[in-house]
Symmetry: C2
Subunit: 355 residues, 2 copies
C-alpha cells in the first residue's frame, strides 16, 4: 500500500485539538504507516504534539490562527476562513496533492461549502452527497445522502447510487453491491416523482449494480441492501431519528434498572449484554461521513465525538484514500455515461412517464 | 358524553375479523357505552359475534362479501370496492352520520383513497394528513403527515400544523400545544423551500399555537414538542426507521442474552426492565393513525396488529369522535383564514423570499 497522508483540521469539533490528536494516536497505533498533515493554532496544538511523540513523529504541522466556528454559517465560514482557516487548509492540501484525504470534525455546512469551492464536483456529477456507515443487524450498510443535497432530481439520485455502489465495493469488498432507493412503500406507484423516475432508470440500465428496487425505513437497520440511496433531507432526518430512537431505548433501560433492586442485580449478571449493545449502537464506531462526488476526498467526523470516534473517521479516510475512491467513482461514472448517454434525457423521459 | 358509534371495517388487516372482534371486545370493556357498526362477511363474522355476547350486544352488523385486499392498489380498491366493500361502507357510515368515526386495519392507500372520495377534504384544507402518536421519553407526541401527502407546499404544511395542534389539544388536553417543523437543522437557512416558508408563515401568525421552530429527527423521541409537522414522505420514512431501530436494539439484546449463561440469569432478575421496555416500545400501545383534513373521521390501525392493538386504535377513534375533532379543526382553520387571509398569498411571498 502506498503511503497515505491524511490532512487533519486540528481545530474542528466541539473539543478541538485534544480529540484530533487523541484520534490520530489511536489510528496510528492501528496503521503505523499513515502520516498526518495537521493544521491549527500552534499555541493549542504544539503542547499536545510535544506530549505525544507517536503523533508528532508521524506528522507535519502547519500553523494558522483562524478556525471555523461550530455555529458559523457556511457563507460566514467561506468569507472569514477562506485560505486561512485550518478547515480550508486541510481541504486545500487534498487539492494540491500534499494529502490524499482530509478529515474534519468541524461544522458540516461549512466543510461541505469549502469542499465544493476548493475541490469542485467531478465530471458527470452535479451534486455531492455525504455517505455514512449505518450499523445493521447484518453488519453495516452505506446510506447516502445524509444532508448535502436537498431535493435532488432523478438524475442526481442515480449518480448517488453509482457513487454509493463504488464506495460499497471499496469498503465492503463486494463485487456487485445491492442498492435500494429509500421510499414509502415497495410498490412502484408510491413516492416522489424523482424517486420513481430514478428507480426506472436504474432498472433499465445494465450497471454493475444489483439494483434491489425500493426499500423502506425499517429496511436500513435490517441490512436489506448494501447501499441505501435517498435525498439529503430524508437521509439526515432518518439518521437523526434512528440515533434518537436508540438513545430513547437506552433511556428506558437505564430508568428501569435504576428503579428496581432486582433489576440492578440482573444488570450485574447481564452486564456483557448491555456492553455489547452499547458497542453495537455506539455512534463512535461508525463515525465518518464521506463526501462523495468531489475531485478529492473529505471525511466529516461527528463534532461531539471523542478520540476513539475521531480515530474511526480516520480509519474511513484511510480506506477510501487507499482505494483511490475518486478514481473508482470516475470509472463507474464513465460506464454510466456510456450506458445511459446523457442521463438528462433518460431522466426527463422517466419523470414525464411517472408524473 | 354523547353516545359514540364506531364503524368497523370487519375485513381489514392481515388477520381480518378475529382481530377486529377481539379489539372491539377489549375496547368495550374499557368503554361500555360505545356502540359498533360492523361491516363484513356474515360467514366469517357471525360466528365470532355469536361467541362474543359483549360485542354482539353492542353492535349492529351489516353483511357484505366484498373486501379490499391488503395488496390492492388504491385504484383497484376504488374500482372493485366502491359502495360494496366493508371498507367503503364503514367510511360511508361516517358520511351519513350513522357512525361518528370509522376504524379499519385495511391497506392504507385504499383507505385514504376511499376516505378522500367519500368524505372530501374540509373547506380551507387542500390535502389530508395521517397523524400518529409517537412514544417519547416524556410521554407521547403527534407526528403528521405519516404518508398521505407527498410533497406538500408551505401552505399545506401550515394547514397540517393547525390540524395537528387541534388534535393535540383534544388528545393531550393542553391549551397551547408546542409545534415543531421537522428539518435537518435548527438554523433558518437549512431545509426545503416549503419547510422554510412554512416556518416563516407560522412565525408571523398569531395562531393559538406555541410554534417552536424547527426540530430535528432526534427531537421526536425526546418529546421536544407536542406536534411534529412534516411531509408524508419524510414522516413515513422517519416512522419506519424508528420502528426498525427499536427492533434492531431488541435483536441485539435478545442475541446477547441467548449467547451467555450469566446474561440469562441476569435476564431473570432484570425481567421487569425488559418487560417495561417492551411495553414502552410496543407499537400496539400507540396504534391508530388519524386521517385529518377530511369531513369525517377515519382511523387506520396497523394491518398486522392483534386485538390489543386494534383496541388502541378504537380508543383513539373514540377520543377524536367524542371531542368532535372535525369541528375543532374547522374552527381553528377559520381562525387561520381570518389571521392570514388567503394563505396562498402569504405562502407565495415567503416561498419567493426563501428561494
Amino acid at each position: 500500500m502506498r503511503e497515505i497522508t491524511i490532512a487533519l483540521d486540528g481545530m474542528g469539533g466541539d473539543s478541538g485539538p485534544e480529540v484530533v490528536i487523541a484520534g490520530a494516536e489511536a489510528a496510528h497505533i492501528r496503521h503505523p504507516n499513515i502520516r498526518f498533515l495537521i493544521f491549527g493554532d500552534e499555541a493549542k496544538i504544539k503542547p499536545l504534539l510535544d506530549a505525544n511523540p507517536r503523533v508528532a513523529g508521524a506528522s507535519e504541522f502547519v500553523h494558522t490562527e483562524v478556525a471555523v466556528g461550530m455555529d458559523d454559517k457556511p457563507s460566514q465560514a467561506l468569507r472569514r476562513g477562506r485560505k486561512t482557516s485550518s478547515m480550508w487548509m486541510a481541504i486545500d492540501a487534498v487539492k494540491t496533492g500534499r494529502a490524499q484525504v482530509a478529515v474534519s470534525a468541524g461544522n458540516t455546512g461549512a466543510l461541505m461549502a469549502m469542499a465544493k469551492v476548493i475541490l469542485r464536483t467531478m465530471p458527470n456529477i452535479e451534486r455531492p452527497a455525504i455517505a455514512g456507515l449505518w450499523p445493521t443487524i447484518k453488519g453495516e450498510s452505506i446510506v447516502l445522502d445524509l444532508g448535502a443535497t436537498i431535493g435532488p432530481d432523478a438524475k442526481q439520485l442515480v449518480q448517488f447510487a453509482v457513487m454509493g455502489e463504488a464506495y460499497a465495493r471499496v469498503i465492503f469488498g463486494v463485487e456487485r453491491p445491492t442498492v435500494g432507493l429509500l421510499n414509502i412503500g415497495e410498490e412502484e406507484v408510491k413516492g416522489t416523482e424523482s424517486v420513481k423516475a430514478a428507480a426506472q432508470i436504474l432498472r433499465n440500465l445494465e450497471l454493475p449494480i444489483d439494483f434491489h428496487g425500493f426499500v423502506e425505513g425499517d429496511d436500513i437497520g435490517k441490512g436489506t441492501v448494501d447501499v441505501v440511496v435517498t435525498d439529503g433531507f430524508t437521509g439526515n432526518i432518518a439518521l437523526k431519528t434512528a440515533e434518537g430512537t436508540a438513545r430513547q431505548v437506552a433511556h428506558y433501560l437505564r430508568e428501569g434498572i435504576e428503579r428496581s433492586f432486582f433489576a440492578k442485580i440482573g444488570y450485574l449478571f447481564a452486564h456483557s449484554v448491555f456492553r455489547t449493545l452499547r458497542d453495537k449502537m455506539d455512534p463512535r464506531n461508525v463515525n465518518g461521513g464521506v463526501f462523495l462526488g468531489l475531485n478529492g476526498l473529505v471525511v466529516k467526523s461527528h463534532g461531539g465525538t471523542d478520540g476513539l470516534g475521531f480515530a474511526s473517521a480516520i480509519d474511513v479516510a484511510l480506506d477510501v484514500a487507499a482505494a483511490d475512491l475518486v478514481r473508482k467513482i470516475a470509472t463507474d461514472m464513465d460506464v454510466l455515461v456510456q450506458l445511459a448517454g446523457d442521463l438528462s434525457e433518460a431522466a426527463e423521459r422517466e419523470e414525464a412517464a411517472v408524473s
